[in-house]
Symmetry: C2
Subunit: 162 residues, 2 copies
Protein backbone atom coordinates (compact mmCIF):
# COMPACT_ATOMS: atom_id res chain seq x y z
CA UNK A 1 0.00 0.00 0.00
CA UNK A 2 1.47 3.33 -0.97
CA UNK A 3 0.82 6.02 1.55
CA UNK A 4 2.60 8.48 3.73
CA UNK A 5 3.57 7.65 7.24
CA UNK A 6 1.12 9.24 9.62
CA UNK A 7 3.16 8.32 12.66
CA UNK A 8 4.84 11.66 13.03
CA UNK A 9 1.57 13.55 13.07
CA UNK A 10 0.40 14.63 16.49
CA UNK A 11 -3.13 13.41 15.93
CA UNK A 12 -3.79 10.24 17.94
CA UNK A 13 -6.20 9.00 15.27
CA UNK A 14 -3.45 9.20 12.63
CA UNK A 15 -1.04 7.47 14.97
CA UNK A 16 -3.52 4.69 15.65
CA UNK A 17 -4.08 4.16 11.94
CA UNK A 18 -0.32 3.98 11.46
CA UNK A 19 -0.18 1.14 13.95
CA UNK A 20 -2.94 -1.03 12.59
CA UNK A 21 -1.48 -0.48 9.14
CA UNK A 22 -4.25 -1.62 6.83
CA UNK A 23 -7.54 -3.44 6.63
CA UNK A 24 -5.97 -6.87 6.89
CA UNK A 25 -4.54 -5.94 10.25
CA UNK A 26 -7.92 -4.93 11.59
CA UNK A 27 -9.46 -8.17 10.35
CA UNK A 28 -6.59 -10.17 11.91
CA UNK A 29 -7.27 -8.42 15.22
CA UNK A 30 -10.97 -9.17 14.82
CA UNK A 31 -10.14 -12.85 14.27
CA UNK A 32 -7.82 -12.83 17.28
CA UNK A 33 -10.80 -11.70 19.35
CA UNK A 34 -12.72 -14.61 17.83
CA UNK A 35 -10.09 -16.82 19.42
CA UNK A 36 -7.94 -17.62 16.38
CA UNK A 37 -4.24 -17.93 17.22
CA UNK A 38 -2.49 -19.92 14.49
CA UNK A 39 -1.20 -18.96 11.09
CA UNK A 40 -3.34 -21.51 9.26
CA UNK A 41 -6.45 -20.45 11.18
CA UNK A 42 -5.99 -16.82 10.15
CA UNK A 43 -5.22 -17.85 6.60
CA UNK A 44 -8.33 -19.96 6.30
CA UNK A 45 -10.53 -17.31 7.88
CA UNK A 46 -9.26 -14.44 5.75
CA UNK A 47 -8.33 -16.21 2.51
CA UNK A 48 -5.21 -14.06 2.45
CA UNK A 49 -1.92 -14.77 0.64
CA UNK A 50 0.60 -16.36 3.03
CA UNK A 51 3.31 -13.75 2.41
CA UNK A 52 0.82 -10.96 3.10
CA UNK A 53 -0.37 -12.67 6.28
CA UNK A 54 3.23 -13.14 7.45
CA UNK A 55 3.91 -9.47 6.86
CA UNK A 56 0.82 -8.29 8.70
CA UNK A 57 1.36 -10.64 11.65
CA UNK A 58 4.98 -9.49 11.95
CA UNK A 59 3.88 -5.86 11.88
CA UNK A 60 1.26 -6.47 14.58
CA UNK A 61 3.92 -8.17 16.73
CA UNK A 62 6.35 -5.29 16.17
CA UNK A 63 3.71 -2.76 17.13
CA UNK A 64 3.00 -4.66 20.33
CA UNK A 65 -0.56 -5.72 19.47
CA UNK A 66 0.14 -9.45 19.22
CA UNK A 67 2.69 -11.68 20.95
CA UNK A 68 4.31 -14.65 19.23
CA UNK A 69 4.53 -17.83 21.33
CA UNK A 70 6.18 -21.10 20.44
CA UNK A 71 3.57 -23.80 21.01
CA UNK A 72 5.43 -26.63 19.29
CA UNK A 73 9.20 -27.11 19.20
CA UNK A 74 9.59 -29.79 16.53
CA UNK A 75 8.68 -28.55 14.06
CA UNK A 76 8.71 -24.96 15.39
CA UNK A 77 5.19 -23.56 15.36
CA UNK A 78 4.00 -20.24 16.68
CA UNK A 79 0.74 -18.90 17.87
CA UNK A 80 -0.27 -15.26 18.05
CA UNK A 81 -1.97 -13.91 21.15
CA UNK A 82 -3.45 -10.48 21.82
CA UNK A 83 -1.40 -8.28 24.13
CA UNK A 84 -3.05 -5.78 26.51
CA UNK A 85 -2.48 -3.13 23.82
CA UNK A 86 -4.17 -5.38 21.29
CA UNK A 87 -7.07 -6.05 23.66
CA UNK A 88 -7.54 -2.31 24.10
CA UNK A 89 -8.40 -2.16 20.40
CA UNK A 90 -11.71 -3.93 21.07
CA UNK A 91 -13.81 -0.73 21.41
CA UNK A 92 -12.70 0.29 17.90
CA UNK A 93 -13.90 -3.07 16.55
CA UNK A 94 -17.20 -2.80 18.43
CA UNK A 95 -17.71 0.74 17.13
CA UNK A 96 -17.13 -0.56 13.59
CA UNK A 97 -19.53 -3.43 14.29
CA UNK A 98 -22.23 -1.05 15.47
CA UNK A 99 -21.78 1.28 12.51
CA UNK A 100 -21.75 -1.61 10.04
CA UNK A 101 -24.91 -3.11 11.51
CA UNK A 102 -26.72 0.21 11.37
CA UNK A 103 -25.78 1.17 7.83
CA UNK A 104 -24.63 -1.85 5.85
CA UNK A 105 -26.77 -4.79 6.88
CA UNK A 106 -29.92 -4.41 4.74
CA UNK A 107 -30.79 -8.10 5.16
CA UNK A 108 -30.57 -7.90 8.95
CA UNK A 109 -27.74 -8.28 11.44
CA UNK A 110 -25.37 -11.23 11.17
CA UNK A 111 -23.19 -10.40 14.17
CA UNK A 112 -24.36 -8.77 17.37
CA UNK A 113 -23.00 -8.03 20.83
CA UNK A 114 -24.64 -10.07 23.59
CA UNK A 115 -24.78 -9.92 27.35
CA UNK A 116 -23.27 -13.30 28.26
CA UNK A 117 -25.51 -13.97 31.24
CA UNK A 118 -28.90 -13.07 29.74
CA UNK A 119 -28.16 -13.54 26.03
CA UNK A 120 -29.81 -10.18 25.38
CA UNK A 121 -28.58 -8.09 22.50
CA UNK A 122 -26.58 -5.06 23.64
CA UNK A 123 -26.15 -1.76 21.83
CA UNK A 124 -22.73 -0.41 22.75
CA UNK A 125 -22.84 3.35 23.27
CA UNK A 126 -19.89 5.67 23.73
CA UNK A 127 -20.55 7.08 27.14
CA UNK A 128 -19.34 9.70 29.60
CA UNK A 129 -19.40 7.67 32.80
CA UNK A 130 -18.60 10.63 35.08
CA UNK A 131 -21.63 12.60 33.87
CA UNK A 132 -23.80 9.57 33.16
CA UNK A 133 -24.69 10.40 29.57
CA UNK A 134 -23.91 9.36 26.01
CA UNK A 135 -21.26 11.29 24.14
CA UNK A 136 -23.15 13.36 21.63
CA UNK A 137 -21.75 15.83 19.14
CA UNK A 138 -23.16 18.96 20.71
CA UNK A 139 -21.87 18.67 24.21
CA UNK A 140 -18.55 16.94 23.64
CA UNK A 141 -15.79 18.67 21.73
CA UNK A 142 -12.29 17.90 20.66
CA UNK A 143 -9.80 20.05 22.53
CA UNK A 144 -6.04 20.57 22.68
CA UNK A 145 -4.21 18.41 25.19
CA UNK A 146 -1.09 19.41 27.16
CA UNK A 147 1.27 18.09 24.47
CA UNK A 148 -0.42 19.86 21.54
CA UNK A 149 1.99 21.77 19.32
CA UNK A 150 1.16 25.04 17.60
CA UNK A 151 -0.21 23.45 14.44
CA UNK A 152 -2.53 21.24 16.45
CA UNK A 153 -3.66 24.15 18.63
CA UNK A 154 -4.51 26.15 15.51
CA UNK A 155 -6.42 23.26 13.99
CA UNK A 156 -8.51 22.87 17.10
CA UNK A 157 -9.06 26.61 17.57
CA UNK A 158 -10.31 26.83 14.00
CA UNK A 159 -12.89 24.15 14.72
CA UNK A 160 -14.06 25.79 17.90
CA UNK A 161 -14.44 29.12 16.10
CA UNK A 162 -16.85 27.59 13.61
CA UNK B 1 -4.34 -0.23 -2.72
CA UNK B 2 -4.57 -3.85 -3.77
CA UNK B 3 -6.90 -5.86 -1.65
CA UNK B 4 -9.95 -8.01 -1.92
CA UNK B 5 -13.40 -6.64 -1.60
CA UNK B 6 -14.71 -7.31 1.87
CA UNK B 7 -18.19 -6.09 1.02
CA UNK B 8 -19.66 -9.50 0.36
CA UNK B 9 -18.57 -10.87 3.70
CA UNK B 10 -21.29 -11.04 6.30
CA UNK B 11 -19.13 -9.50 9.00
CA UNK B 12 -20.24 -5.92 9.72
CA UNK B 13 -16.66 -4.95 10.58
CA UNK B 14 -15.47 -6.07 7.15
CA UNK B 15 -18.34 -4.23 5.53
CA UNK B 16 -17.55 -1.07 7.43
CA UNK B 17 -13.91 -1.26 6.38
CA UNK B 18 -15.03 -1.69 2.80
CA UNK B 19 -16.96 1.56 3.03
CA UNK B 20 -14.28 3.78 4.53
CA UNK B 21 -11.87 2.25 2.00
CA UNK B 22 -8.48 3.29 3.35
CA UNK B 23 -6.67 5.46 5.85
CA UNK B 24 -7.11 8.62 3.83
CA UNK B 25 -10.87 8.21 4.04
CA UNK B 26 -10.78 7.99 7.82
CA UNK B 27 -8.59 11.08 8.04
CA UNK B 28 -10.90 12.95 5.65
CA UNK B 29 -13.84 12.04 7.90
CA UNK B 30 -11.82 13.17 10.92
CA UNK B 31 -11.18 16.52 9.19
CA UNK B 32 -14.86 16.81 8.28
CA UNK B 33 -15.63 16.54 12.02
CA UNK B 34 -13.06 19.31 12.54
CA UNK B 35 -15.30 21.42 10.32
CA UNK B 36 -13.35 21.28 7.05
CA UNK B 37 -15.62 21.26 3.99
CA UNK B 38 -13.63 22.38 0.95
CA UNK B 39 -11.24 20.57 -1.34
CA UNK B 40 -8.35 22.94 -0.67
CA UNK B 41 -8.92 22.74 3.11
CA UNK B 42 -8.69 18.94 3.05
CA UNK B 43 -5.68 19.09 0.76
CA UNK B 44 -3.82 21.51 2.99
CA UNK B 45 -4.65 19.56 6.13
CA UNK B 46 -3.68 16.16 4.78
CA UNK B 47 -0.92 17.09 2.30
CA UNK B 48 -2.48 14.58 -0.08
CA UNK B 49 -2.12 14.43 -3.87
CA UNK B 50 -5.11 16.13 -5.56
CA UNK B 51 -6.03 13.11 -7.68
CA UNK B 52 -5.99 10.89 -4.61
CA UNK B 53 -8.12 13.38 -2.65
CA UNK B 54 -10.62 13.58 -5.53
CA UNK B 55 -10.86 9.80 -5.61
CA UNK B 56 -11.36 9.46 -1.86
CA UNK B 57 -13.95 12.28 -1.69
CA UNK B 58 -15.89 10.74 -4.59
CA UNK B 59 -15.84 7.36 -2.86
CA UNK B 60 -17.09 8.87 0.40
CA UNK B 61 -19.91 10.61 -1.51
CA UNK B 62 -20.81 7.36 -3.31
CA UNK B 63 -20.92 5.47 -0.02
CA UNK B 64 -23.24 8.08 1.45
CA UNK B 65 -20.83 9.40 4.09
CA UNK B 66 -20.40 12.87 2.60
CA UNK B 67 -22.72 15.06 0.52
CA UNK B 68 -21.45 17.34 -2.21
CA UNK B 69 -22.98 20.83 -2.27
CA UNK B 70 -22.44 23.61 -4.79
CA UNK B 71 -21.52 26.68 -2.80
CA UNK B 72 -20.35 28.83 -5.72
CA UNK B 73 -21.79 28.75 -9.24
CA UNK B 74 -19.17 30.76 -11.17
CA UNK B 75 -16.72 29.14 -11.06
CA UNK B 76 -18.43 25.95 -9.83
CA UNK B 77 -17.14 25.08 -6.37
CA UNK B 78 -18.28 22.30 -4.10
CA UNK B 79 -18.15 21.67 -0.43
CA UNK B 80 -18.38 18.30 1.29
CA UNK B 81 -20.64 17.87 4.30
CA UNK B 82 -21.09 14.90 6.60
CA UNK B 83 -24.34 12.98 6.11
CA UNK B 84 -26.10 11.26 9.05
CA UNK B 85 -24.29 8.06 8.05
CA UNK B 86 -20.98 9.93 8.12
CA UNK B 87 -21.82 11.48 11.49
CA UNK B 88 -22.53 8.02 12.87
CA UNK B 89 -18.86 7.21 12.23
CA UNK B 90 -17.83 9.50 15.10
CA UNK B 91 -17.70 6.76 17.77
CA UNK B 92 -15.15 4.90 15.63
CA UNK B 93 -12.97 8.02 15.50
CA UNK B 94 -13.31 8.61 19.24
CA UNK B 95 -12.41 4.97 19.92
CA UNK B 96 -9.29 5.41 17.77
CA UNK B 97 -8.52 8.67 19.60
CA UNK B 98 -8.77 6.98 22.98
CA UNK B 99 -6.62 4.04 21.91
CA UNK B 100 -4.00 6.31 20.33
CA UNK B 101 -3.81 8.51 23.42
CA UNK B 102 -3.39 5.51 25.67
CA UNK B 103 -0.74 3.71 23.65
CA UNK B 104 0.97 6.07 21.22
CA UNK B 105 1.33 9.43 22.95
CA UNK B 106 4.53 9.03 25.02
CA UNK B 107 5.01 12.81 25.17
CA UNK B 108 1.48 13.37 26.50
CA UNK B 109 -1.89 13.89 24.86
CA UNK B 110 -2.22 16.36 22.01
CA UNK B 111 -5.94 15.90 21.39
CA UNK B 112 -8.54 15.16 24.01
CA UNK B 113 -12.32 14.96 24.29
CA UNK B 114 -13.84 17.73 26.41
CA UNK B 115 -17.17 18.39 28.03
CA UNK B 116 -18.15 21.65 26.33
CA UNK B 117 -19.79 23.23 29.35
CA UNK B 118 -17.15 22.51 32.00
CA UNK B 119 -14.08 22.10 29.80
CA UNK B 120 -13.25 18.92 31.72
CA UNK B 121 -11.48 16.13 29.94
CA UNK B 122 -13.74 13.16 29.22
CA UNK B 123 -12.73 9.51 28.81
CA UNK B 124 -15.17 7.95 26.39
CA UNK B 125 -16.12 4.43 27.47
CA UNK B 126 -18.07 1.88 25.47
CA UNK B 127 -21.06 1.30 27.67
CA UNK B 128 -24.12 -0.87 28.10
CA UNK B 129 -26.69 1.76 28.97
CA UNK B 130 -29.48 -0.73 29.76
CA UNK B 131 -27.39 -2.48 32.42
CA UNK B 132 -25.42 0.60 33.47
CA UNK B 133 -21.94 -0.84 33.04
CA UNK B 134 -18.93 -0.66 30.75
CA UNK B 135 -18.63 -3.28 28.04
CA UNK B 136 -15.84 -5.56 29.19
CA UNK B 137 -14.53 -8.66 27.48
CA UNK B 138 -15.77 -11.17 30.00
CA UNK B 139 -19.41 -10.32 30.15
CA UNK B 140 -20.05 -9.24 26.58
CA UNK B 141 -19.73 -11.68 23.73
CA UNK B 142 -20.15 -11.63 20.00
CA UNK B 143 -23.15 -13.66 18.93
CA UNK B 144 -24.93 -14.62 15.73
CA UNK B 145 -27.66 -12.25 14.59
CA UNK B 146 -30.86 -13.26 12.78
CA UNK B 147 -29.26 -12.85 9.34
CA UNK B 148 -26.16 -14.93 10.08
CA UNK B 149 -25.42 -17.57 7.44
CA UNK B 150 -23.99 -20.97 8.19
CA UNK B 151 -20.34 -19.93 7.89
CA UNK B 152 -20.88 -17.04 10.29
CA UNK B 153 -22.77 -19.25 12.75
CA UNK B 154 -19.88 -21.72 12.73
CA UNK B 155 -17.33 -18.97 13.25
CA UNK B 156 -19.21 -17.66 16.25
CA UNK B 157 -19.90 -21.12 17.68
CA UNK B 158 -16.17 -21.88 17.51
CA UNK B 159 -15.41 -18.81 19.55
CA UNK B 160 -18.02 -19.56 22.15
CA UNK B 161 -16.69 -23.10 22.49
CA UNK B 162 -13.24 -21.82 23.44
Amino acid sequence: MQRKSFGNMQCPIARSLERVGEWWSILILRDAFYGLTRFDEFQKSLDIAPNMLTRRLNALVEEGLLERHLYCEKPPRHEYLLTPRGRDFRPVLLALLTWGNKHFAPEGESVVLLDASSGDKVEPVLYDVARGQPINEKQYLIGAGPAAGLAMQERIARKQGK
